[in-house]
């Protein structure tokens, strides 16, 4: 079990770094935090799930639970903010026209 734990711990670290890189890249390219943050949180969640493999400590369990809650909270907040910033008509068109264009 320890080999699996070690492997998943390293993979979680790599996925966490990848999450930061991908999130930053999406933010730079789209200039929309509401698009970049879900990308970051989704990949961070994958890293968190990898940390739960094996026999996690109470601290790890609490961290992952907090991450899941935070992800839900930020996601709901961003969606609400997006709806008020970009009304329905604008949302229909924003897929084809990027913010930079």
């Amino acid at each position: 079990m320890s080999a699996l734990e070690e492997l998943t711990r390293l993979a979680a670290l790599a996925v966490g770094v990848g999450a930061l890189v991908a999130g930053a890249l999406v933010l730079v390219r789209t200039r929309r935090p509401s698009v970049a943050l879900p990308v970051l949180l989704e990949l961070l969640l994958a890293a968190g799930l990898l940390r739960l493999a094996g026999d996690p400590s109470w601290g790890t369990i609490a961290t992952v639970a907090a991450l899941v809650l935070l992800r839900r909270l930020i996601g709901a907040g961003l969606r609400a903010g997006d709806r008020s910033l970009f009304p329905r008509t604008a949302q229909a068109g924003r897929g084809s026209a990027g913010p930079g264009s």
Partner: protein
């Protein structure tokens, strides 16, 4: 007999948990590559949604494997400490699976609605020759 059962269950738990971890790692690596590719080749926000949906599906599948390993672990009688951890981890995974499924469903419906709007606007557009 009980020791034999515990040994078999422990081996199965490791195999199933490794499968779940492999699915999550493959999904994360694939999604990272796609995010980078889409980020460099396209600037549209809509291009990232299918990648996120597929990553969500990978995570949900990995979670199913991990939940299966949790169920297997209950086959051997653990201590209260282990049982508490197992309950907490299973609760997190179950809640996450539920929310992921809901998210995937709502995003898929949004994409379908947008496609319908686009096809409706293209057929309604006047000025077709002939």
């Amino acid at each position: 007999m009980e020791e034999l059962l515990a040994g078999v269950v422990n081996v199965l738990v490791v195999i199933v948990e490794a499968c779940g971890a492999a699915v999550i790692i493959i999904g994360a690596v694939w999604a990272f590559a796609r995010f980078v590719w889409v980020g460099f080749t396209q600037r549209t926000t809509a291009a990232f949604v299918p990648v996120r949906l597929t990553l969500g599906r990978f995570l949900a599948l990995g979670l199913e494997f991990q939940l299966a390993s949790d169920v297997l672990r209950t086959a051997v009688a653990p201590s209260w400490e282990e049982l508490g951890k197992l309950a907490a981890v299973a609760a997190i995974r179950t809640a996450l699976n539920y929310f992921l499924e809901k998210e995937i469903d709502s995003e898929r419906r949004e994409i379908e609605a947008e496609q319908e709007r686009r096809s409706a606007s293209s057929t309604d557009r006047p000025g077709h020759p002939g």
